[in-house]
């Protein structure tokens, strides 16, 4: 039996096609790493304004007369927009743009109002105009110096003030709905205040850096959780809520511990997501191997030489099946290995020391683990998909003797599986929970997450998967045993 399996491996690895596939996988992985590195290094900053827009505003402004009272308001607005746009174009980082929008724009508006005043300027007005000009210059100076703390402090003060104001307002209202409304706003402001506090405490500048992005993630997830009404009786809502909690908690973990566990554009980040990045690749390879396992020997006539050996047909088929299953492992390990090395070369190996973080819903804490421990867990929970698809392919290969069918059908099935799952969830087709595709991805049970179907358990899914395996394998073995080897 072991000799049979050994022979099957020899046959697979002596094929040129397997080496070509291997090289293609390496090229694909290298390409993906290099491209994502290039993309992540290119400034992802989105700038607020363009030269065209400035031109457009200039033309608009020429048509207006600041001295004409009917045009005045329009003129101030256009002029301010123009000033802001021109200023923004001088700074090429997104955070600077957003600070201009947030804080400097109001100064410019006020200043313009005084500067272009139609009425006779009083002494006070002139004084005010001067003060505003100084304030503007100071802000620009801070911006030029990239003194983000100045603005963070400003933001903090603003948020605190806002909270105080709303709290006062709260004391003066009696209507319950209005109170709820105000409380919700306070909560939102508090989240934002927390974010600014983190910035100042942990020294996290504005801009496109990992922790700042995490702060933004945290704020948006938290605000989503505060503002959106979740229906506790709706399973979909519960799942949805969970994903936002997870996002917020993981962001919080990174911020508070100054960690990079959520950083995706690193060797470890890509390795951690190896199954979502390369799942189709894995499926294609295993289907290609399992789908020709039996049919090729029939089509080329070599099966005759195999069947006249002192082994029962069951053993011969079992050896082939076991080989297909082992090849899944080989494929997965190969792809992980290639990604490990490629990622290390492209991004540097040091990121492999960073742990993987996950939110444990059972204990409501963030757990961290070594990336390789994590990969083992994910491999174990993902492998039912590959086993079932390879088995399908293997069964078709034996039953139909047709390699194209045995390769194409499982691939289509895999691609269709996400659609089936989506239908099952969207339309609450509960009977579909006995179908194989909602059950074969065991990652849904990791870390106390809510699975695709309410009340389904890990054991249930494993049993369903096993039943489908048996359903596929029994006819395969029976047919193979009874098969007449036809003349070619």
């Amino acid at each position: 039996m072991i000799k049979l399996i050994e022979n099957e491996f020899t046959k697979i690895f002596k094929k040129k096609s397997i080496w070509i596939v291997g090289i293609l996988i390496i090229l694909f992985i290298v390409g993906l790493n290099v491209i994502s590195k290039i993309v992540s290094e290119r400034s992802t900053d989105f700038l607020y304004y363009s030269e065209d827009y400035v031109q457009y505003l200039k033309e608009d402004l020429e048509k207006l007369d600041a001295k004409d009272p009917s045009d005045y308001a329009q003129y101030i607005e256009t002029k301010t927009n123009l000033d802001v746009a021109q200023l923004c174009l001088k700074y090429d980082e997104q955070w600077q743009n957003s600070i201009i929008e947030k804080y400097i724009k109001s100064t410019i508006t006020e200043y313009n109002q005084y500067y272009y005043s139609i009425e006779e300027k009083s002494q006070d007005d002139i004084q005010k105009e001067k003060e505003l000009k100084e304030q503007y210059d100071e802000q620009i100076a801070k911006l030029d110096a990239k003194d983000w703390r100045y603005f963070a402090e400003k933001e903090k003060a603003e948020k605190e003030k806002e909270i105080r104001n709303i709290e006062e307002q709260l004391n003066n209202t009696v209507s319950n709905t209005e109170k709820d409304q105000l409380n919700m706003i306070i909560e939102q402001r508090k989240v934002e205040l927390q974010a600014v506090d983190w910035r100042l405490d942990k020294d996290i500048p504005y801009g496109n850096n990992h922790l700042s992005n995490q702060i933004e993630n945290y704020v948006s997830s938290k605000i989503y959780l505060i503002t959106v009404q979740f229906d506790e009786n709706e399973y979909l809502d519960k799942q949805n809520r969970q994903s936002y909690i997870e996002e917020a908690e993981l962001a919080k973990y990174d911020i508070e511990n100054l960690e990079n566990t959520q950083k995706k554009d690193s060797a470890k980040g890509i390795l951690e997501d190896v199954f979502s990045n390369y799942e189709l690749l894995i499926i294609v390879v295993i289907v290609m191997i399992a789908g020709v396992m039996v049919s090729e020997e029939f089509n080329k006539g070599t099966i005759k030489l195999l069947l006249v050996r002192p082994y029962s047909r069951n053993k011969i088929l079992l050896a082939k099946f076991v080989t297909s299953m082992l090849m899944i492992l080989v494929t997965v390990v190969f792809i992980i290995g290639v990604q490990f090395i490629t990622g290390g070369i492209v991004y540097g190996f040091d990121s492999y020391g960073i742990p993987v973080s996950a939110y444990d819903f059972n204990n409501e804490t963030v757990v961290t683990m070594n990336v390789f421990v994590y990969l083992i867990i994910i491999t174990l929970t993902k492998i039912p998909i590959y086993i079932l698809i390879a088995t399908l392919s293997f069964a078709l290969s034996t039953l139909c003797n047709n390699s194209p069918v045995a390769i194409a059908l499982p691939l289509l099935g895999y691609m269709g599986s996400s659609m089936i799952n989506m239908l099952a969830v969207q339309y609450e087709l509960n009977w579909l929970k006995f179908f194989v595709t909602p059950n074969w991805d065991l990652t849904q049970y990791l870390f106390g997450k809510l699975p695709m179907f309410e009340n389904s358990t890990l054991l249930f899914s494993i049993v369903v998967c096993l039943i489908y395996m048996v359903i596929m394998l029994i006819p395969t073995f029976i047919v193979f045993k009874k098969k007449n080897i036809k003349n070619i």
Binding site: N7, K14, T302, K304, L305, N484, I485, N487
Partner: protein, 302 residues
């Protein structure tokens, strides 16, 4: 243990509604080389597939070395070597790798045995080439090599002479005769070409439309055959006037006559006495073939 390497009793095979084999019985004793002769579509390959367990038997039994091939498959097949139809080997492997794969499945075969067999079939210079680069004759030799690798005592060869040159046929013949004689191997060898087999079989079994029409020792078959002789003479007209029946005119000075070998002196004497000048007397080689065609002629592929 019995001396029978192979015993098929009353084999029937039905595929769909069509009966392909209708009661085939044959025996191969150890040391025998049985020629299994029949025209295309007579059921030779099907019989061989039934013997090897490659197809299910509708009715009847196959015993190899006393083991029933259906009930005791692994024991029965252990000491069988076979080529079925074409020697379908793994084209993307070398000859040696092909043999290595097979040797893995038998405990008794080691690398020395592989080398020995390679030498036996005369492939030692090309054994490390890919099989896809082999000619049909070389593949046939490799097929024989894989069949005899584990020293079986029953060898089943389906049309092994296909694609072989006369030299190849001769060396295979020598090999088989040697194996049968020295190692007591029983050999079943099928062909649609009797003249190829007549030199190395000691028994012949003829099949037609799924029925055995004759099983006999080869010398007996030869004995019963009226051979043809072609006689070249100077004055054919005179011959025509004295022998009116039983001759076939071939051209202006040759005629053909069907008689047994021992009657040749008589006919020569008769011709000389009648003052006919004989230039040449030649035995027509295809005689066995013709006898075979006469027996199996009219095989209808249905």
């Amino acid at each position: 243990m019995t001396d029978l390497a192979l015993e098929c009793t009353n084999l029937y095979k039905k595929i769909g509604k069509k009966e392909i084999l209708k009661g085939i019985s044959l025996k191969v004793e150890k040391g025998d080389i049985l020629g299994f002769i029949g025209p295309n579509g007579a059921g030779k390959t099907t019989t061989i597939k039934l013997i090897l367990g490659l197809q299910g038997i509708t009715h009847g039994t196959v015993k190899i070395n006393g083991y029933d091939v259906e009930k005791d498959f692994t024991k029965a097949i252990r000491s069988v070597g076979a080529i079925v139809e074409n020697p379908d080997l793994y084209m993307y492997l070398t000859g040696y790798e092909n043999l290595k794969l097979i040797s893995n499945l038998y405990k008794s075969v080691d690398d020395d045995r592989i080398k020995e067999v390679v030498k036996l079939v005369g492939l030692e210079n090309r054994i490390n080439d890919k099989v896809s680069k082999y000619s049909l004759g070389m593949r046939q030799r490799l097929g024989v090599a894989q069949a005899i690798l584990h020293k079986p005592n029953l060898l089943i060869l389906d049309e092994p002479t296909n694609g072989l040159d006369p030299e190849g046929i001769r060396s295979i013949r020598e090999l088989l005769v040697n194996l049968a004689k020295n190692e007591g191997m029983g050999v079943l060898i099928s062909s649609h070409n009797l003249s190829e087999l007549e030199n190395f079989c000691n028994k012949i079994c003829m099949i037609k439309n799924g029925v055995i029409i004759e099983t006999n020792d080869i010398y007996r078959i030869k004995e019963n055959i009226q051979s043809s002789y072609i006689i070249k003479v100077q004055n054919l007209e005179k011959v025509k006037s004295i022998i009116k029946q039983g001759i076939e005119i071939i051209d202006e000075n040759k005629f053909k006559i069907n008689i047994k070998e021992d009657k040749i002196p008589d006919i020569i004497k008769f011709l000389v006495e009648n003052d006919i000048k004989i230039l040449e007397v030649k035995e027509e080689m295809a005689s066995l073939e013709e006898a075979f065609l006469k027996k199996t002629g009219g095989n209808v592929i249905d």
